[in-house]
């Protein structure tokens, strides 16, 4: 057992931390919330130059093929400041799908552009019930004429759809080439409606409505009928990185709160000298340390190519509850000031809830753990 990062990973973390601390301030977050695009093009170019988009990919595509933990620590740092960008939906979710499912030509066409940040991809996994329906998609792609499908259905909570060059969906295909869960990459165009959704956490997310959208068969990624297989293969990495982001946010909440109760004075003493406050902080520290271990366990196994599905489920289950509970304690200890827009704590409260609900909450991953236990 080894409970510290390699020197390389620490270095990458320090670079990320310096960069993000300086640029991604509370003021910046508020500016991006008001901004139509929702992220900074300059910073997008800068992180592409830093190589953040290519960490998971081979050098032949312009990636650095660095270890999974390097990506994990970057996500941790991004989580600390809630850095808004299409990195997750483009270079992680979509990039991994293309990497896993795409033919050699598909990969060589799209991955370099994704990794350079020249192209922004997003992936639309949720149906109109808010569920990941890839096993039996409600979204339909029916062959209307030779090599052309008509896509019909709705996708919800699609990140950055408004700026995405291409969108990946998993639809139920029906046609000469075969049937079943199939991945398509769709360009923006006729027969689609992109509707902005205003959510609690305020990120740029959209509804995508396909009304008989024409999609060519050469936009199919991988084999017809295998869409769900590809998605399930990449989900552990995706979820582990989401846990990294949650870990970062949780760290910040604890730091913010402990800092606050050391400063804030009531009853003639720092709030942090009261035992109830100390116990709440101890609980937060426990949430943080336990989350750190269970999340790094999943990531470490992934980085070594070892079986990890149960550990990923355990991590997401644990993180989902721990991060959220920590934000509740954080708010309780901050009192009124934490409830203002002006104070930064609410960003993390909202992020914790959004993260909890993304890719399966604690209950759904506990069910997966139960499956792995054979009970």
């Amino acid at each position: 057992m080894e409970f510290k990062l390699s020197d390389d990973a620490i270095m990458i973390r320090n670079v990320a931390s310096e960069y993000l601390k300086e640029k991604c301030t509370g003021a910046f977050l508020r500016e991006m919330a008001r901004d139509d695009r929702g992220f900074s093009r300059t910073m997008w170019r800068e992180i592409a130059e830093l190589g953040w988009l290519g960490i998971l990919y081979d050098e032949e595509y312009g990636g650095s093929a660095a270890g999974f933990l390097d990506m994990f620590v970057i996500f941790e740092e991004m989580g600390k400041v809630l850095f808004p960008s299409p990195l997750f939906c483009s270079a992680i979710l979509s990039g991994l799908i293309i990497s896993e499912a795409g033919s050699e030509s598909c990969r060589s066409v799209h991955l370099p552009a994704i990794i350079r940040g020249d192209e922004i991809f997003t992936t639309a996994l949720l149906d109109e019930r808010g569920k990941i329906d890839c096993d039996d998609p409600i979204l339909a792609a029916t062959e209307s004429s030779k090599g052309v499908y008509a896509m019909q259905g709705t996708r919800l909570l699609v990140p950055y759809a408004h700026v995405a060059d291409r969108m990946i969906v998993c639809a139920k295909a029906a046609g000469a080439a075969g049937e079943g869960s199939t991945l398509f990459q769709v360009e923006k165009g006729a027969g689609q409606e992109i509707v902005p959704l205003e959510t609690m956490s305020g990120g740029k997310t959209f509804a995508l409505v396909f009304e008989g959208t024409e999609v060519h068969s050469d936009s199919i990624i991988g084999t017809v009928g295998q869409g769900a297989v590809y998605i399930h293969r990449i989900l552990p990495k995706v979820i582990a990185l989401k846990c990294a982001e949650m870990l970062g946010g949780l760290q910040r909440v604890v730091a913010m709160t402990v800092g606050y109760v050391k400063e804030r004075r009531q009853f003639g003493a720092p709030l942090g000298s009261l035992q109830a406050v100390q116990h709440h902080c101890a609980d937060m520290a426990t949430y943080l340390e336990t989350t750190r271990l269970i999340a790094y366990q999943a990531a470490s196994l992934i980085s070594e190519g070892l079986p990890c599905e149960k550990e990923v489920a355990m991590a997401k289950a644990w993180c989902s509850d721990a991060y959220k509970q920590a934000t509740w304690i954080g708010h309780q200890l901050h009192g009124g000031i934490g409830f203002t827009e002006e104070y930064d704590l609410h960003f993390f409260y909202k992020h914790a809830k959004e993260s909890e609900l993304a890719f399966g909450d604690a209950r759904s991953h506990r069910a997966a753990v139960a499956d792995f236990m054979g009970i």
Binding site: A285, T286, A370, I375
Partner: protein, 394 residues
């Protein structure tokens, strides 16, 4: 970061498991739950001693194996999972030995360390810390050890002394500076007490599980040679703080009821998934999965604490966090087991209708002690907040 063990460590774990399986099959011991560690058995401790499994982490110069705390935790994990009878040497191995190595006089090291390591006769230790007036507030100890020439004379009373009735020696904290102007934490000393010394009375205290595990120990004019002082006079409280970290760092805090957990999983695996009460079944799955995650988290916390010690650092706030977390898991495990097994889980051992041979009934009765013994959860959270997070004391 690495979350698995080396080949050697896995081989070591298998070696321990094989040994325990043989012993259990031979009827040397039976797996039960309840006390923190299994019953004292000189014979069993000797078997471990022969394999170098006592004092594993002690330096070779003291007869130890110089192995890592992670290795020791692997050994302890396997021993605790089956509740092997290690009670004879456990306290001495865990904290008496390490304390003597740091603070002990030469004669104490030469006398006790080899005897502990070899599990010789008359080497069982108990801990004499708590008093009626000093539980969580350990610094309030009032049992006094007053110097009288070449002796100390001890008067006072200890309580919650686990295994005191079977101990050969006691490891004691007593007040040696009675000057009330001296801060309380600067007036205590540590002593080794021969439990056969005249003037010591051990009286059983029956716990709510109906068992005799701990005791009151009375000291009435007990004269001990001053050579039994450990370390510096009046530095006892400081000396003890490091020992507390070791006391709290163990995986025993997570595994006291492991036999119940193991059987519970087996029981749930055999549950009727098709018919019956579907709502109950899915609730059980959800609850047991949560326990499994907590168990995994607790296990990582324990191994990380061992690793921290191996790095040469003191794990004070980490050990406190770990113990608080693990002991609360233990309580939830027992509670959940009774709720899953239902009313029959109340039936104690000995009848044909008890669930799991009465293990849950016994485990649940011991439950309140888990979050109290060795530092209550509240004290541990204070430590975590003050030492770990730097929050100010009142």
């Amino acid at each position: 970061m690495r979350f698995h063990f080396t080949e050697e460590q896995e081989a070591f774990r298998r070696e321990v498991r094989d040994f325990l399986r043989e012993e259990r099959d031979a009827g040397t011991f039976a797996t039960d739950v309840g006390e923190l560690v299994g019953r004292p058995s000189l014979e069993f401790s000797r078997k471990l001693a022969k394999r170098g499994w006592i004092g594993m982490t002690w330096p070779r110069q003291y007869g130890g194996q110089g192995r890592s705390y992670v290795d020791k935790m692997i050994l302890n994990e396997e021993l605790m999972k089956v509740q092997a009878p290690i009670g004879y040497h456990f306290a001495a191995d865990r904290q008496v030995g390490p304390a003597l190595m740091i603070f002990g006089a030469e004669w104490q090291k030469e006398f006790f360390l080899p005897r502990i390591i070899r599990a010789e006769e008359h080497m069982k230790f108990c801990l004499l810390f708590s008093e009626p007036g000093a539980g969580s507030d350990l610094v309030a100890v009032s049992t006094r050890a007053e110097k009288d020439g070449d002796h100390y004379v001890i008067n006072g009373q200890k309580v919650w002394t686990s295994g005191g009735h079977e101990a050969d020696y006691g490891w004691m904290l007593a007040r040696t500076n009675l000057d009330s102007s001296v801060p309380k934490h600067q007036g205590c000393s540590e002593f080794i007490i021969d439990m056969k010394t005249p003037g010591i009375t051990v009286r059983p205290v029956i716990n709510m599980a109906g068992e005799h595990s701990f005791n009151e120990v009375f000291f009435d004019g007990v004269r001990i040679d001053r050579k039994y002082l450990v370390g510096k006079e009046n530095a006892g409280f400081q000396q003890i703080m490091a020992q507390m970290d070791y006391e709290r760092a163990g995986i025993e805090r997570l595994l006291q009821n492991y036999p119940i957990y193991e059987r519970l999983i087996g029981h749930v695996r055999k549950m009727d998934k098709g018919g019956g009460d579907q709502g109950f079944y899915y609730w059980v799955r959800d609850q047991v999965a949560q326990l499994e995650i907590e168990f995994n988290v607790g296990r990582l916390l324990c191994y990380q604490t061992a690793w921290i010690i191996d790095q040469g650092r003191k794990p004070s706030s980490e050990a406190a966090l770990t113990k608080a977390f693990c002991t609360q898991y233990e309580q939830r495990l027992n509670d959940l087991a009774t709720r899953i097994l239902g009313p029959l889980s109340q039936i104690k051992k000995g009848g044909p209708w008890s669930a799991f041979d009465g293990l849950p009934a016994r485990g649940y009765l011991w439950g309140p002690s888990y979050t109290l013994q060795g530092g209550s959860v509240e004290v541990l959270k204070n430590i975590l907040a003050q030492r770990g997070l730097g929050l100010p004391r009142r």
